[in-house]
Structures are given as C-alpha cells and as structure tokens.
C-alpha cells in the first residue's frame, strides 16, 4: 500500500514518529548540556502530541490523560528539574567532548537498520497501520543506550535513560494504543522519582568525588592495575 492512501492522521503519526527519531539523533549529536535538555523536552512534547493524535484518531479518550501527563512530566517538569540541577551544579555551560561524533552518528544509523531488522517479525503480527513505528521505538531505546555509553557526564546519561523510557512509551502508544492506565501512571511516577533520586545522587557524587564525570568512578575499583 502506498503512503498516500493512508488517512492524514496516520500519515501525521508516521511523521511524528520520524521526528521523534530525529530528536534522538539530535541528542546524540548535541554536546552542550542545556540544548541537550531542551531537545529532550522537545522529544517529550512530540510524544505528547503523538499520543493526543492517536487518541483523536482512534477515539481512545483515556490516551488524552496520558498525553497530558506526558506533556507535564516529560516536556515541562523533568526538563525544568534537570535544567535547575545543571545551573546549581554549574555545569550548564559545559561542552562534552564526544570521541568520534560522526562515527557515533553513523553507528546510530546502523542501529536504526538493526532495529528495523529486529522489528520485522513483530510487525508481521500486528494489523495496525502504524505498526512500522515499532522499529522507530526500538531505535529510540537503542539510541538512548548509545547516548549513555558515549557520554561521560552523569546528567547526559540520565537524559539517555529518560529517552529510553520515551521509546518504550512511544511503542506502547502507537502499537497497542497505550498500556493500562495503572501501569502508565506507575511508570510516570517511577520516572519522576528517578529524576529526583538522580538529582540527589548528583550532589552526593560531586560531594564525594568532586566531579560529575562518571569516568572518575573508575577509581572505586578495588584492584589497581
């Protein structure tokens, strides 16, 4: 079937899926902390919009609640907390040195192909038109992990972690029209709590090793080489 034969809503969902994937790549490429947080906020906003769109297109009113919650939490609250943390820790002007930026991005491209390959069997089971987005959500998860691997600053790793959660949420919304409300609420608060805990952890970390550079944690190793 051609793309042109889908309804405009379905097309829009595909479009937003693509843009969500794009924001993941932007995060991967972004070396500065504050724009990174902003991109993360944009990803949350896109997620919320997509959810609202799915709610409208499929007539699932409970998704509106999810959308609103996503927007509040992931587009406003968590980015705001992270931003405040960054300012208070005085790292908001820092630029992270990524070892091979272009290579990382190419690896990201490879991950997308890989997720497509992985998602193929799942896609064949689903009858929904938007099932192709499963590959995108897997890619967002993997890209979040890649972000965590390539970065040194703990705050970027937290963002990577949150973006993994975004990917999972996206998969749930577009492929099965959302998880049961209870589960969603639970996850949302888990994420919030995680964000707060991370904040506390950052201060602890800086107090004890005087840096947010996670490479310094190597020193905690028992046996010296």
């Amino acid at each position: 079937m051609e793309l042109g034969q889908l309804s405009l809503y379905d097309q829009a969902i595909l479009l937003f899926a693509a843009i969500v994937l794009f924001t993941s790549f932007v995060m991967l490429a972004q070396a500065r902390i504050v724009p990174l947080i902003h991109t993360f906020a944009w990803q949350g906003t896109l997620l919320a919009v997509t959810t609202a769109l799915v709610a409208y297109a499929t007539n699932h009113p409970h998704l509106y609640i999810s959308a609103g919650m996503t927007f509040l939490l992931k587009a406003l609250l968590i980015p705001w907390m992270l931003h405040r943390l960054a300012v208070r820790l005085r790292i908001h002007r820092d630029v992270e040195a990524v070892a091979y930026p272009s290579l990382t991005l190419l690896a990201g491209g490879g991950l997308v192909i890989f997720s497509y390959h992985v998602a193929l069997p799942i896609v064949q089971l689903s009858a929904l038109i938007t099932r192709n987005t499963i590959a995108v959500s897997i890619a967002v998860v993997l890209l979040g992990m890649l972000l965590m691997i390539t970065r040194k600053k703990a705050i970027s790793q937290v963002i990577g972690f949150m973006s993994i959660e975004n990917g999972l949420f996206f998969a749930a919304v577009v492929s099965t029209y959302g998880m049961p409300m209870v589960v969603e609420l639970g996850i949302a608060f888990d994420v919030l709590v995680a964000a707060i805990l991370f904040g506390v952890f950052f201060f602890q970390m800086r107090a004890s090793i005087d840096s947010l550079d996670v490479d310094r944690l190597n020193r905690l190793r028992e046996v010296d080489r």
Partner: protein, 675 residues
C-alpha cells in the same frame, strides 16, 4: 576461420617480443624497436581477436596437445574472454607505442641493468595475461596465471639496486603465491565435485550451497588479493610504482582486470548459482576498498604510488558493481543483475583506459625530469603542453566527471544501486543506498585527489630546476597517451554503442541482455527505461560546448583586450614557487577530517634563534603516512608465522641420524597406510 587464429598470432607476437629482446644487451635497439614492434603487433591482433570473439555468438574452442598426458590444454574463446582480450590488447598496443621513447634512458650506455630481462619478461608477462583469458581448464589457467605472476615479479624487481624495490618485489611474489594457493584450492573444490579439471566439468558440478560458498570464498580471496582489494592490498602500492612506468600501466591497467576476469569467470560461469550473501560481501569489501583506496591515494605525494592506491579505489568500484549484480541475481532479479554486471564491465574498460593513460603520463614526466615527487613538480603545463592535455583528460575521466568514460560507469553503478527498492529485504534496501553514498564520497575524493595531482604537477610555478627544464615527451609517447585520451573521450560520449557490444557478455553468462540500455539509439543511454533515467553524453558535450562558445563569441565580439600583469602578492614583492600550496598542504583539510584512517607521523621542527627566543627562524614539517593494514593485519600475521616456524624448527636438529630416522619412520608409516 575463428577468432582463435588471431589469438594464437597475438600469443606468438608476445612470445616473439620476449625472444627478440634476448639479444638486447648487445643491440639495445632490439629492445626499443624490435620488441616493441612485436608487442604492437600482438596488441593489434589481440584487439581484433577479442572484438571478433565478442561479436561471434558461439564460443570457439580448441584442444592443444600440450600439458599432461591425460589433460590436454583446453582453450576457449568466448565474449567474456574476448572483452578482456581486447582490453589487454589495447593497452599492450599503446605501451608498445610508448615504450621506444621511454626506454631510451634504459638503453643508455651508462646503464648497467640487464636489458634482455626487461624485454623478455615483458613479453612473457603479456603472454601470461593473454593465456589466462583463453584457458578452459584449471591446469592451463594456473600455469598461465603463475607465468603472469612470476614474470611480473621480475619486472617489479627490475630496478633491484634499491633495497626497497627488492622488498616490494618479494612481498609481491609472496602475496601472489598465497593468492595462487587460494585459487588453486577453489578450483580444487569445483574439480572435486565436477570430476575433472576442465571448466566444462566444473560447470556441470553439482555443489551444495555450503561448498559453493567455500569455493567462492577461496576464489574471492585469491583473485581479490591479486586485484588489490582491502585489506589484502598492501603489496599493490609497493609493487606497482617500482616497475618501469609502461609496465606499471600494464599492471594497474590490465593485470588487476585479469584478476577480476578470474572472479567473474569463477562465480558467474563456473559456479553459476550465485547467492546474494556473496554480493553483500563484495559490496562491503568494495565500498571499503574504494574509500580507503582513495583516502590513501589522496595523501600520497609520490605520483606513481598515488596512482597505485587509486587503482585500489577503482577495483573497489568494480567490486561494488559486481556485488550489486550478485545481490540482484541471488534474489531473482536477473535483469537488474545484468545492469550491475554491465556497470562493472564498463568500469573495467574505463579504468584500463584512464589508469593506463595516467601511468604513461607519470612515465613521461619521470622521463622528462626524473621526478616522482609531486612536491618538486609544478608548471609542467608550459614545458609539456601536449602531455598536459592528455593528462588532464585522464584526470577528468578518473574523477568521474561528465561527459567522459569514468562518469558513465559510475552513473551505471548508481543506477543499479537505485534499483534497491525492488529487493524484499529491508536491511539490503537500506544498506545499498549507503554503499552508493560511499561511492559518491569516493568519487568526489578522487576528484580532489586529481585536482591535487594536476594542480601541483602541471599548474603553478616549477618547484625545482630539473622540472623547470623539462622537455616535451617523444612523439611515440605522445601518440600512445593521445590514443588513450581520445578513447577516454569516445567511450565517454558513445556509451550506448559500447554497451551494444558488451551486451554479449551478460547474454552469454546469464542468458539475458540489459533491458533497454541502448534501445533508444546511440544518443541515449537508458539502463532501465527512459522514464526511470536517461543520459545523453553527446548532447551533454554539445550543450556544454554550445553554451561556453556562445558566451565566448558574445564576449569576443565586444571584447576589450586582455592585459597581462603580475598576480596579487599582497604587496610583499613578487611571488616565488615556495609560496604555492604543496601537495601535502592541499590534502591537509581532508587529512584532518579523516584523521583516524591513516597511521600518520607528523614531525614539526622549529629552529629558534637563542638570542630572540620568540622568533622562529625556520620550520621543518615532515609527514609520514603508513598503511594501517600493516600494523593491524600483516605484522600480527607475520609474527604468528614466525612463531609457528620457530616451533616447527625444533625438528631441525642438525644431526644426520635424526634425519635418517625421520625418513625411516615416514617410510614405515606410508607402508602401513598403503597396506
């Protein structure tokens, strides 16, 4: 009458040129004229024979009463052989035009080298290449293959007074033989299943998918090593540049193609059932070869080394075309597979032409000013105006610029790659465009590389006195280069006509011609259909010339005279040749962007006057480039082999009794096995 007669005559010509030069040490003219005359005849005959074989529908076969008692020499001359036969013939003919002028300094009385060796081994080398193409059983194939390898070894080692050349030659011999073993084993697998060493038997062999893949892998390693694919390429940039330039042209222009011929013959013809996974391997290796080849070429300053690395790039392009073809054939899209194969064949032809031209050009420069280092050249366009024109055409062609021949083959490869949506597998669908992007990147990098070559060598001011006094090449040398330059242009402008002839090869191998490449007349090249893509090289040339001439005429009519003046020197006094960008400086931005690719060693020495510590008096910048494959692949393997050899060396005791005991126990063991 069959084309084989001409082929035999060509072989005889090659042999005669070798034999004639046996007397070259006494009569140097025998080498310059006698041997070249026979080579020229051999080339012409080979072109005729090859062309005939391509037009002739039925392959000509023959059995010669040579070789082993139970295995006579089987020869076969079909369109595929014919195509390569003409390419070899063409380059041999051109080098025979080039050689008399070029060899003059070799025959100089002061030269101590054995002249007969150069002529003899050149003849045998050509003989070996031609015979490989005719072989129809593994025995002839391997014999002529070895003849080609060994005689070219002597040519590489010809200037053996330099230790580096001896080392390069040894490396070449070693790699050629490792490759030879792999090929032999590949034939062995086929022969084992087919029950005979003739290609006829191998074609009928019924292989399981696994065994077919093993045979393919062996052949791919063997032929790929000879063709210079990454990472088995390390010998190529060492060996090709140290041979005399017209031999380098033959080695880079044609010998690599003979290896590709082997690969095509082995997979398309002998194995037959192509699996798409092989295509993926070829595509990946091909992409790696072209990118690394061109990046290494870009950073070289020795002209011949640079050209040798660029051959690796072009082999990569050919392999990618073949890879695409195999992917399509393996997934059942034979028509598209034909397109990929055509692209590869066209690039084989194009590369033979322009690489031959460029190596001959490098030879002409070396002949004129004894210089290979780009950073000592400059301004040659004024000293060697005709060579400069031919070399420019070669540079344009190898950079894949329309409307020359290099562009046609790259365009066909792109078109083949763009048919990826026809494939079922999404991974392949997304992999192939990435490979195409790599091709685009290498094409532009090649253009950068040859802007550097041409700009530094021919343009600007001369950077050394010898270069400033260079003289135009001899008439024969110019004739040879000019012929290739004209062919580069012609094969660029009339691709449909050429493809109309090459069609015979996919017809023979796959039983299918291209869908409609030349269906819309000589003016249009339409590989799939006019709606999908079309390219009209004649109109492109006419269009560019037309618009350029209109602008020229219009401006000429109302032209004000041109005044000559000094270039802008920022008010510091006149420019000198040391202020120009050197080759190293030119490639510096690329070197910085792709830094992890090379093993670079940069030495910057500053000399400071102790009285004025803040003032630098002079800066010495030295850049050493090493091939990463050495430290990553060859040296570990070398160490491994040495360690193994040391272990095995334990059995060498030096005592004669122990050796006798070895023989004794071997005898006992064998007797036991036999009973």
């Amino acid at each position: 009458m069959s084309p084989l007669i001409f082929a035999y005559l060509a072989l005889a010509g090659a042999l005669a040129s070798g034999v004639v030069s046996l007397g070259a040490d006494r009569y140097p003219h025998l080498l310059r004229y006698g041997s070249s005359l026979f080579l020229g005849a051999c080339g012409l005959l080979a072109i005729v024979a090859g062309g005939w074989a391509m037009i002739d529908e039925t392959p000509a076969t023959d059995v010669l009463a040579l070789g082993l008692p139970w295995l006579k020499w089987h020869l076969r001359f079909d369109p595929l052989s014919g195509f390569f036969f003409s390419i070899v013939g063409l380059l041999v003919f051109v080098t025979s035009l080039f050689a008399p002028g070029y060899l003059r300094e070799y025959t100089h009385p002061g030269n101590k080298q054995a002249l007969f060796a150069l002529g003899l081994f050149s003849g045998l080398f050509v003989l070996g290449m031609l015979l490989v193409l005719l072989a129809d059983d593994a025995f002839v194939f391997m014999i002529s293959w070895e003849l080609m390898s060994v005689s070219s070894y002597f040519l590489v080692a010809y200037q053996h007074q330099h230790a580096a050349n001896r080392r390069a030659a040894f490396l070449y011999l070693l790699m050629a033989h490792i490759g030879g073993v792999a090929i032999l084993l590949g034939f062995g697998v086929l022969a084992g299943f087919g029950g005979g060493f003739t290609f006829e038997a191998m074609r009928d062999a019924d292989l399981s998918a696994t065994w077919a893949s093993i045979a393919f892998a062996l052949a791919f390693i063997g032929f790929g090593m000879k063709a210079g694919m990454v990472p088995l390429h390390a010998w190529l940039p060492e060996a090709h540049p140290v041979a005399p330039s017209h031999i380098s042209a033959l080695m880079s222009g044609v010998m690599l193609k003979v290896a590709i011929y082997g690969l095509i013959r082995f997979t398309y013809d002998l194995v037959g059932d192509i699996q798409w996974q092989w295509g993926v391997v070829l595509l990946i290796i091909g992409s790696a070869s072209m990118l690394l080849g061109v990046l290494y070429a870009l950073i070289q300053n020795n002209l011949k080394r640079l050209l040798a690395y660029s051959s690796i790039e072009n082999v990569g392009i050919i392999l990618s075309g073949l890879g695409l073809s195999m992917i399509f054939i393996g997934t059942g899209h034979v028509v598209l597979g034909v397109l990929g194969l055509l692209a590869a064949l066209y690039h084989i032809l194009s590369h033979a032409l322009f690489k031959g031209l460029l190596f001959l050009g490098a030879g002409a420069i070396a002949h004129a000013c004894h210089e290979y280092d780009l950073n000592n050249m400059g301004g040659l366009i004024r000293r060697m105006p005709q060579t400069a024109v031919f070399f420019l055409i070669g540079c344009l062609a190898i950079s894949g610029l329309p409307p020359l021949n290099g562009f046609v083959s790259e365009w066909l490869t792109f078109q083949a790659a763009l048919q990826a949506p026809a494939l079922e597998s999404g991974v392949l669908r997304s992999l192939i465009p990435v490979a195409a992007a790599v091709l685009a990147l290498s094409a532009v990098l090649a253009a950068t590389c040859f802007v550097k070559v041409y700009g530094v060598a021919f343009l600007g001011q001369s950077r050394s006195r010898r270069v400033g006094h260079a003289h135009e090449a001899a008439i024969g040398m110019r004739l040879g280069m000019g012929l290739l330059a004209v062919l580069c242009v012609l094969f660029g402008i009339f691709p449909s006509a050429v493809i109309g002839v090459i069609d015979a090869i996919p017809n023979q191998l796959l039983g299918q011609g291209p869908p409609s490449a030349a269906a819309h007349g000589w003016l249009w090249l339409t590989p799939i259909s006019p709606r999908v893509a079309s390219y009209s090289a004649p109109l492109v040339l006419v269009g560019i010339l037309l618009f350029a001439l209109v602008a020229y005429a219009w401006l000429r009519v109302r032209a004000v005279n041109i005044r000559r003046g000094d270039p802008w020197d920022c008010g510091f006094g006149s420019l000198n040749s040391r202020m120009q960008y050197t080759g190293t400086a030119f490639s510096m931005p690329i070197q910085r962007v792709f830094a992890p690719v090379w093993d670079l060693k940069v030495d910057i020495e500053e000399t400071v006057n102790p009285a004025q510590p803040l003032r630098t008096e002079g800066i010495r910048h030295q850049l050493q480039v090493h091939d990463k494959s050495w430290s990553r692949l060859y040296e570990p393997i070398g160490r491994l082999v040495l360690a193994a050899a040391r272990r095995i060396g334990l059995i060498q005791t030096g005592s004669i009794h122990t050796y006798l005991a070895y023989s004794f126990f071997t005898l006992i063991l064998l007797l036991w096995v036999v009973t």
